[in-house]
Symmetry: C2
Subunit: 276 residues, 2 copies
């Protein structure tokens, strides 16, 4: 199985690193020749180039590890080289905004999107080996018309990469859920850190603040795209979160201890169930 | 140095466990005789009783590992046994609401409050050995009139317990800062988990959701007290946090990518500086 990874960033690099140790022949492309040299030197890839044309036709699968808006641009630019029975996929964190169009642009190749739910608050291939996929969720998001063969291929890919739980869902459901578990959490962490206006806060932090704000060290180019491409769901989730925060505010204003307890009992129960 | 620990819960137990390995003679009290048996069996204490009178007069220091509202009740009940030059302290997570009064009630003993910024989302002495104090902040909160000798004693206590950073601050500043780094983070985590109304969320979580919601498994008795005793500061912090979340909302509604990037760059910079 010959695989071309387009975009040797944190995730593309982690895929190359892991797949090259399995039964895959891995090639790599990036606009940054230093990322390619790094991947070659570390033997994540057999070889790489800044020009994807060099590998597209000979590869069985193309994995796009690039930003949401770059995906359609890539497909438009290189569509004349795509072949029948070739698989194309991407690792993007939002789906509804482009997958329909990507599927058309990829023809005659077969397109199916997926989302590896793991990463780090770091940018670039030099952190790729630190990406932990074990224990993490791997989501495959076919359209109704997507051939089963690529879904099966992606299940194997997720397994080979080391992911623990592989789930197949629609792009809409994906974006709704990810808007909650990923984009909302990032919005909250960012707002929390930005609401800190004291110079000495770090002398007063415990694990809770440290854990809640880790993801506020955010890649602004990637996440501004993800937020905007999933803005409807994200706005819904923010509103709903604010309603729940307002319930706490109201209980505080009214000095209503029983209301606070009820709110805390509910969250503790829900959080415990999550770990089951 | 003879120490009486009142309240053999998670933190009281952790203090007993650690101090008994140092130069302290540790005695323990709790309303729950099972907690006492556990502490005796594990040799966290030399001996214990449900009746604090048994040890108060012979101890050099009394550490109150009990809930905020129980502190004043304890001091009122046992004040006739307190001695001159005896130190009394507590581990409570809020200060302004009771320290002034506690200092008076403790006389002729010397009172000074402190706050060990470490814990777990678990209740009870059986989790005490899992409390990690290394790397954590230890805050000492004297009043203007508090004798220096107890502040120095508490610095030594914090060091003997294993804390990494010991800071002396006023009770007001403590409550303002802790309202932000501790109570606000708990309010956010609780609201986030309670805003989840999907049965399958756990299939779609990554590290970010897991980290942000860990503390939503909250002890409702303790935290309803902490929230209410620090409600003014906490309400201020919630309002300010919501303003910052609204900035993200506005950028999303206006599809303003540059505004989002500016917000993310600010949070990333601030979060990186926190780790320095």
């Amino acid at each position: 199985m010959k695989v071309l990874i387009v975009g040797l960033g944190l995730i593309g690099g982690a895929y190359a690193y892991r797949l090259s140790q399995k039964k895959y022949e891995v090639y790599g492309c990036d606009i940054d020749s230093e990322a390619i040299s790094y991947a070659e030197k570390k033997q994540y890839i057999l070889e790489g180039s800044t020009d994807p044309k060099k590998y597209i036709e000979q590869c069985d699968c193309i994995i796009l590890g690039i930003y949401p808006q770059a995906i359609l641009h890539f497909l438009e630019t290189y569509r004349k080289y795509f072949k029948k029975n070739q698989y194309i996929t991407d690792v993007c964190g939002v789906k509804s905004s482009f997958v329909e169009q990507a599927t058309v642009l990829a023809e005659p190749a077969i397109y199916c999107s997926h989302h590896p739910m793991a990463g780090k608050e770091k940018v670039g291939i030099s952190y790729s080996e630190e990406c932990v996929f074990e224990g993490a969720n791997f989501l495959i998001t076919p359209l109704d018309r997507t051939p089963k063969s690529i879904v099966e291929f992606l299940k194997g890919l997720g397994k080979d990469l080391g992911f623990s739980k592989i789930t197949v869902i629609s792009i809409d459901r994906h974006d709704k859920m990810i808007g909650f578990t990923s984009q909302l959490t990032h919005a909250i962490a960012v707002a929390l850190v930005n609401s800190d206006e004291d110079m000495e806060t770090k002398n007063f932090i415990g694990d809770s603040y440290r854990d809640l704000t880790r993801i506020a060290e955010i890649n602004e180019r990637l996440w501004s795209e993800l937020f905007l491409e999933n803005r409807e769901y994200l706005l819904d989730h923010i509103r709903h979160f604010e309603e729940k925060l307002n319930e706490i505010q109201t209980a505080l204003i009214q000095k209503d201890k029983e209301a606070l307890k009820t709110i805390f009992i509910a969250s503790a129960k829900k959080r415990r169930e999550m770990e089951k």
